[in-house]
């Protein structure tokens, strides 16, 4: 039905005329135009919002920009860089943290939306020096290579074994089906999660 694509269509798409107009921003990833910028600056006029976040059992009062994700706030102002961002679109799950004990992608949640809910990150999983059984099992089974996806995988596996005492291999695969480990540590991750479940039941 549609014909071929004309240059005009595509040019429109990139927001530029043949010559003359700047390609909006963009380059490739930013929002063109200034309309969104600066509009609706919330709160105190500085463009910053004062919020309180409960992270790993501690109340943290911080000022953030409204558009900051939980992942950005954890890694930036809160200086907890254990939570990793691999894609920033919820497609790799490296940024998994618990919000009220449920694993979520912290790159796809606004920090301001966390509200009263309690956040647990990889930094808060061990009890003092004592590793969570999932962490210990990850080391024992070498369930990592480069280790960049590891904090997220640990958080998902820990949530699973704490809610299901006897997970099957299929349940483990389901629980981590959103994680991307490019080094391919999955077989060792399965073994580690199984092992940790046994330890917890123990």
């Amino acid at each position: 039905m549609t014909g071929t694509i004309t240059r005009r269509d595509f040019l429109k798409a990139t927001g530029a005329a043949m010559t003359g107009v700047a390609v909006p921003a963009a380059g490739l990833c930013a929002a063109p135009g200034e309309a969104g910028q600066g509009a609706g600056r919330a709160g105190n006029g500085s463009g910053l919002l004062a919020i309180s976040l409960n992270v790993n059992g501690a109340e943290r009062r911080i000022e953030i920009e409204a558009q900051m994700t939980l992942a950005e706030v954890l890694r930036g102002p809160l200086d907890m860089t254990g939570t990793k961002v691999g894609c920033d679109r919820g497609a790799c799950s490296a940024c998994t943290v618990w919000v009220d004990r449920v694993p979520v992608a912290s790159c796809m949640m606004l920090a301001v939306d966390v509200g009263e809910r309690k956040v647990v990150t990889i930094e808060g999983l061990a009890r003092g020096e004592e590793l969570h059984p999932v962490q210990a099992a990850f080391i024992a089974h070498d369930a990592m290579q480069c280790g960049f996806c590891t904090p997220g995988l640990v958080m998902s596996c820990a949530a699973l074994v704490e809610s299901k005492p006897n997970p099957s291999i299929e349940e483990i695969k389901d629980a981590i089906s959103g994680h991307l480990c490019r080094c391919g540590s999955y077989p060792h991750v399965f073994a580690a999660a199984m092992d940790a479940a046994k330890t917890l039941k123990g």
Binding site: A31, V104, G115
Partner: protein, 343 residues
Amino acid sequence: MNRFEWTSAGAVAAAARLGPVTVAEAMATQSGAPGTAATVLKAGGIDLLDLMKEGLLTPRRIVNLRGIPELGRILEGADGSLRIGSLVTLAQIAEHPLVARRYRALAQAAGLPASPQIRNVATIGGNLLQRPHCWYFRSLHHHCLRKGGATCFAFSGENRYHAVFAHEGCAMVHPSTTAPALVALGARIELLRRDGSRRMVALESLFLTPEEDIRRENDLKPGEILAAIILPPMKPGVRSWYERQGEQDSFDWPVAEVAVVVKLDSPGICREAAVILGAAAPVPYRAKAAESALIGKPSSAGNARDAARAAVAGADPLSGNGYKLPVFEALVARAILHAANQG
């Protein structure tokens, strides 16, 4: 993402009074630049953040619906119906015992999209109202028909994941994986208007084909808020099943999916049937020929196969997605038999 004003609504009526527009309206502009200066509602926020991160949506104000108690509940009606608040998450639906028992296709469909992390946050309302995931639509640099441009890039471009039915004008597939199950189950939705009144419509009638409106996927009116999805009481002999296939088994969009609901009488003759295809068309696609082929016949493998063949008979595949037809055919036959043969 752009900066915005952040407001949390305590009640649906309060949210409605803030003058929100639909995401489609917020994105609509004349110039090819993304939409601006609008107030939009946030449920789980997954699609909203996705659009904002791509620079496709730059709202002035975001009204947070999360935390409005009435939207977050699943309630059983006295008549055996089930009312699912629009902010109930996909994970909550997939795990709900009543849903699993009575509306199996929905439980199956809600438990599969994206990842557990996303399903723990994504809501049923957001899932139904999310914007298309066509890769041209999601690209800031492709000003397609649905975004006010002059071209559907998919017809002459890369269309392996696009529609095989009813794609007049736009080859998107409807992105909601719960919609086929909900439509097959006869779900209705409750919409709250700005003046506080409510209207109920069949979910199926909410969705718009490109011919009806190329700029919107659904008929949500300005200022309306999707409050709940209502599933009818299940009559005796009614069973449902959902099948899907992607290119891989983890974290993948389906290339084909189907929800089937059949009502069998005691000798096993099919009296009512719904066969809804997903990842097939710009709307959840009712395979009417398959439904007719089933009614009045026993649910045998041969009849399932005939119905499956009928389901794809009218398809009009694009240059790169003809493979979807045998996949749909296989899935429809399997879903019918699974639905009919479950206990």
